[in-house]
């Protein structure tokens, strides 16, 4: 059921600290960042860091790394590739989910840059959510090729250029979880609704011309919660940092299920 309020232990306290900009800073910008320390036994808080943007890289990730290196080494976040292909630094920046490494600080309107972990997720520490459930949902759609026909003896299973183009988009998903954690349906029903990322992956295998389990895959999704909690809100498609369209993929799955009834 939808719980609109955060549970008591999750509410943000007023104990946030402020780290002032150094003397002589030229272009000061304030970063308000969600903090949670599992060892403190205290509620989450929001710390404020004043950063001299004249001495900082352009992206939000650059600012986070600067904070960790120069101001507060206790700040925790995931990051790896810094070029939008690993999906590690997914977080809620300025009210929307995106990757910190490809979000420019200059694109954040308003005075302060507000940074929270991906919404409605269990927080391990600071900006690091627990993605166990998210990955389990991905695994639940069996994201691998299943075949009944024997493989060609002399090479790979081939497909036409047109068939390849059908899976080009969904294959580009990096599993950053920006879409699923932007979805209110997923917030309220993540225990039973698979969410846009897992469904996009399911669609990728459903439309793969080489896969022989299309029927079974649709059977597994034909469920009031797993698939049909999608109400086409479109937050997923708006949030996707790779410009993919999970909402369209889910719509196509619904159409395929409706279509095979005839």
């Amino acid at each position: 059921m939808a719980e609109f309020q955060l549970p008591p232990g999750s509410r943000i306290s007023n104990d946030g600290k402020t780290f002032k900009a150094p003397e002589g800073a030229k272009k000061v910008r304030r970063f308000q960042i969600y903090r949670f320390d599992p060892d403190s036994g205290q509620n989450p808080r929001v710390d404020t860091y004043e950063i001299d943007m004249a001495a900082c890289g352009p992206m939000v990730l650059d600012a986070l790394i600067k904070i960790k290196n120069e101001i507060d080494p206790t700040l925790s976040f995931r990051r790896s590739c810094r070029e939008g292909i690993c999906g590690s630094c997914a977080m809620n920046i300025d009210g929307s989910n995106t990757l910190a490494c490809i979000k420019s600080c200059a694109d954040v309107k308003g005075a302060d840059v507000r940074i929270y972990p991906l919404p409605h997720m269990p927080v391990i520490k600071d900006l690091i959510p627990d993605l166990t459930q998210f990955y389990a949902q991905y695994a639940a759609v069996k994201p691998w090729l299943t075949t009944r026909s024997p493989a060609p003896p002399d090479g790979e299973r081939l497909q036409s250029k047109e068939d390849q183009e059908k899976i080009d988009g969904p294959s580009a998903c990096i599993l950053c979880a920006c879409c699923s954690t932007s979805c209110p349906s997923y917030w309220w029903n993540s225990d039973r609704y698979l969410g846009p990322a897992a469904l996009l992956a399911a669609y990728r295998w459903i439309v793969d011309s080489r896969d022989d389990s299309t029927g079974e895959r649709l059977d597994a999704l034909e469920d009031p919660f797993r698939l049909y909690r999608c109400h086409t809100i479109m937050n997923c498609t708006e949030a996707c940092p790779k410009d993919l369209n999970p909402a369209r993929a889910i719509g196509e799955i619904k159409r395929l299920i409706a279509g095979r009834r005839h």
């Binding site: 232990g9 999750s10 969600y34 809100i233 708006e238 719509g251 159409r255």
Partner: protein
């Protein structure tokens, strides 16, 4: 170790047009369904003779009730237009970000124009509901 807190959601997520239209669709749907009770009351009044009917129309003519009826009309127009938007999605069309934004604007424009027109027709002093 303390249990893991739940990260903030509604309180931090930017309230974009996507969520606004979606929750409005649900609210107007609930309003329309519960508004059917008014229709039932109207039929009951109709069946109970001229006196009951006069009492009913007298009650419905109250200013506040008229405002609620006007809101109900707008709810109907919104639910109708956004429902058609959903039907388009069900045929696999209109999922591109630009298309979804455009159809959202069309829904709002329809509600404003048709709403203004029908509110004028039904609620202006000449004719219409008393």
């Amino acid at each position: 170790m303390a249990p893991r807190p739940l990260s903030p959601h509604l309180s931090v997520y930017r309230f974009a047009y996507t969520m606004a239209l979606s929750i409005l669709h649900r609210i107007t749907g609930v309003a329309l369904a519960s508004g059917l009770l008014v229709l039932v009351a109207w039929l009951l009044a109709l069946g109970n003779g001229p006196q009951a009917y006069a009492a009913f129309t007298g009650f419905m003519g109250h200013g506040l009730i008229q405002v609620v009826l006007g809101a109900w009309l707008l709810a109907f127009l919104y639910h109708l237009a956004n429902g058609i938007r959903h039907l388009f999605w069900d045929t696999g069309r209109g999922f591109a970000k630009s298309a979804a934004r455009r159809s959202a604007r069309m829904v709002i424009a329809f509600v404003v124009v048709a709403g203004a027109l029908l509110v004028y027709v039904f609620f202006c002093p000449v004719g219409g509901v008393q």
